[in-house]
């Protein structure tokens, strides 16, 4: 007797996700990690002429900025190529000819990208923490050597001050927010690629959305404020409604400045990120389900 076909199978989804990840690995996407490490190590040596607190500040800004760029680029490039490549290589037809629903295919593909982004973020975070730790140890050694300090209380104070300006756990929410921004872009790029005529179009539109998405809060503010012509109001309303507010996920700059984010607020922000992903994912499925292949 033939086994009954399941409407939704996590095993099938995970198989597609695994294959997507494997494909991305074969495309050597993780090579950018080497560039990231070089940027970080280079920045740490280049900043030698600045005083230690400023060096740490620059290193944290550069690292988190590079993380943000790399994850976003990875999300857009990996997702934009996904569907066109599968269509071109005819893999899509082979998969969909089997009893695999389209939403499982799409979900598996998206999960594969999410896992790749998670691995990248974790590895970049680990490199960041390691370089910062090495610089921290150097700074402590230099501070203790220069002053020839012997008083244990003073030594403890120096160590505490240096550690406070290097890696702290409060940076983690900033890194998670960077991941979510990239994940939103993966879902959004997938949505665009379901109706795009080419992957270049998908990438161009994604970059435009990235730029406009950072202006969404400004557009919303002016739209809801008094004054302005109706034409301007309509334009601003369309920007505020159509595009995601990406500034919500730019927490890293303020976290580096010493701001701590409350858990509740962070969960709300992440929750909104999940909502964006879910809605863009569902719309991508709807578009893909009605697409003639």
């Amino acid at each position: 007797m033939q086994p009954r076909h399941q409407f939704f199978s996590p095993a099938r989804v995970s198989a597609i996700a695994g294959n997507t990840l494997l494909e991305l690995v074969r495309q050597k996407v993780f090579y950018f990690l080497l560039i990231f490490a070089l940027v970080l190590i280079g920045a740490s040596f280049f900043m030698g002429f600045l005083r230690p607190e400023l060096q740490f500040q620059v290193m944290k800004d550069v690292s988190l900025g590079a993380m943000s760029v790399f994850t976003w680029l990875l999300a857009v490039l990996a997702t934009a190529m996904m569907l066109p490549k599968d269509i071109e290589e005819r893999t899509l037809y082979t998969i969909l000819a089997k009893p695999v629903p389209r939403f499982e295919y799409l979900l598996g593909k998206l999960l594969g990208v999410f896992v790749m982004l998670a691995i990248s973020t974790v590895v970049m975070g680990a490199i960041f923490a390691a370089v910062l730790y090495a610089k921290e140890q150097l700074a402590i050694a230099e501070a203790l050597q220069e002053g020839k300090i012997t008083d244990p209380a003073q030594i403890a104070e120096i160590v505490r001050n240096v550690k406070a300006s290097t890696f702290t756990w409060s940076l983690v929410p900033g890194v998670i927010a960077i991941y979510f921004k990239a994940a939103i872009f993966a879902a959004l790029t997938l949505l665009i690629s379901t109706f795009a005529s080419s992957w270049i179009f998908t990438i161009v539109v994604s970059v435009a959305v990235y730029l406009i998405g950072h202006l969404t809060p400004i557009a919303r503010e002016y739209w809801l404020a008094d004054g302005g012509t109706w034409l301007a109001k309509v334009g601003l309303a369309l920007i505020a409604l159509f595009f995601p507010d990406l500034q919500l996920f730019n927490l890293a700059d303020d976290i580096v400045a010493g701001n701590a984010i409350a858990l509740g607020l962070f969960l709300h922000t992440v929750g909104l990120g999940c909502l964006y992903i879910a809605v863009y994912g569902c719309l991508a499925y709807w578009m893909f389900a009605n697409k003639e292949l």
Binding site: L50, K60, F195, A240, L248, D254, I261, L265
Partner: protein, 255 residues
């Protein structure tokens, strides 16, 4: 075409649903001192379009760091106007980084003001003094703006107190700044003492200062610093406290 139209309508409906959520989270972020940077057209004219777009796209910190390195070079070359110009941009981009406000105030109120006072190109002393005072005022303004952007942190109140005490001789304003710093639970133990020292330097406020100094003195041996004892002795002398009621003798040591 129909599919695209339906997609746009769906995005519009989702936009209406997400709008109140985005606004609520934005307000909560602002209340928690996130996203306080005011990225307006003045800044855009100063830092250029590319840097402005980068700052808007979540790279405020990186742009501020590049400007900080430029400001460091300007400081090395004693180009004080450029230092101030750059630090105005840096602090606009990163208003929550205490270090930038501190550095800006230090470069202007200390380094630039001393350089202006010793400027060999300016033969007139009155103009040198005026230039020096202007730089001190700029430093004060940096710290006051820093405090407006960071009212939840004590450090800039402390720095303002130190600047007012050392550079302007406005001891009452310095007392107020140190007192505000002392109100923070995470402040350094010396803030209250610094406030009392400054109050003791304000003519006509000796009685109030003496009461404050005594209050600190009674807090225990950890507060009995030579400076505190010296200020108590000076106040006792000024207020003509009878010798049997004095806490300190004339040399500042406890009786």
């Amino acid at each position: 075409m129909k599919r695209i139209a339906v997609l746009l309508v769906a995005l519009l409906v989702f936009g209406a649903v997400k709008l109140p959520m985005e606004r609520a989270i934005t307000d909560a972020h602002r209340a928690a001192y996130f996203r306080g940077a005011k990225l307006d057209l003045t800044l855009r004219e100063q830092i250029g379009q590319g840097a402005f777009v980068a700052a808007l796209s979540g790279f405020r910190g990186v742009i501020a760091d590049i400007l900080t390195i430029q400001a460091f070079t300007a400081w090395e070359n004693t180009q004080w106007s450029r230092v101030i110009f750059l630090y105005n941009q840096i602090t606009t981009l990163q208003p929550r980084v205490i270090m930038h406000w501190e550095t800006a105030a230090g470069y202007t109120a200390s380094d630039a003001s001393v350089a202006a006072l010793e400027d060999p190109k300016q033969p007139r002393q009155a103009l040198r003094v005026k230039a020096s005072r202007d730089f001190i005022q700029q430093g004060r303004e940096f710290l006051e703006r820093g405090i407006r952007n960071n009212p939840d942190r004590y450090v800039l109140f402390n720095k303002l107190g130190a600047l007012l005490a050392q550079k302007t001789e406005d001891h009452y304003a310095a007392y107020e700044a140190f007192s505000k710093a002392a109100e923070f639970p995470d402040c350094m133990g010396y803030e209250k003492r610094f406030a009392a020292y400054e109050l003791s330097r304000c003519p006509g406020r000796e009685a109030q200062a003496y009461a404050l100094l005594l209050k600190l003195y009674r807090m225990g041996a950890s507060q009995h610093t030579p400076m505190l004892l010296g200020r108590i002795a000076a106040m006792e002398e000024k207020l003509d406290i009878p010798s049997d009621q004095r806490v300190c003798n004339q040399h500042g040591s406890p009786q």
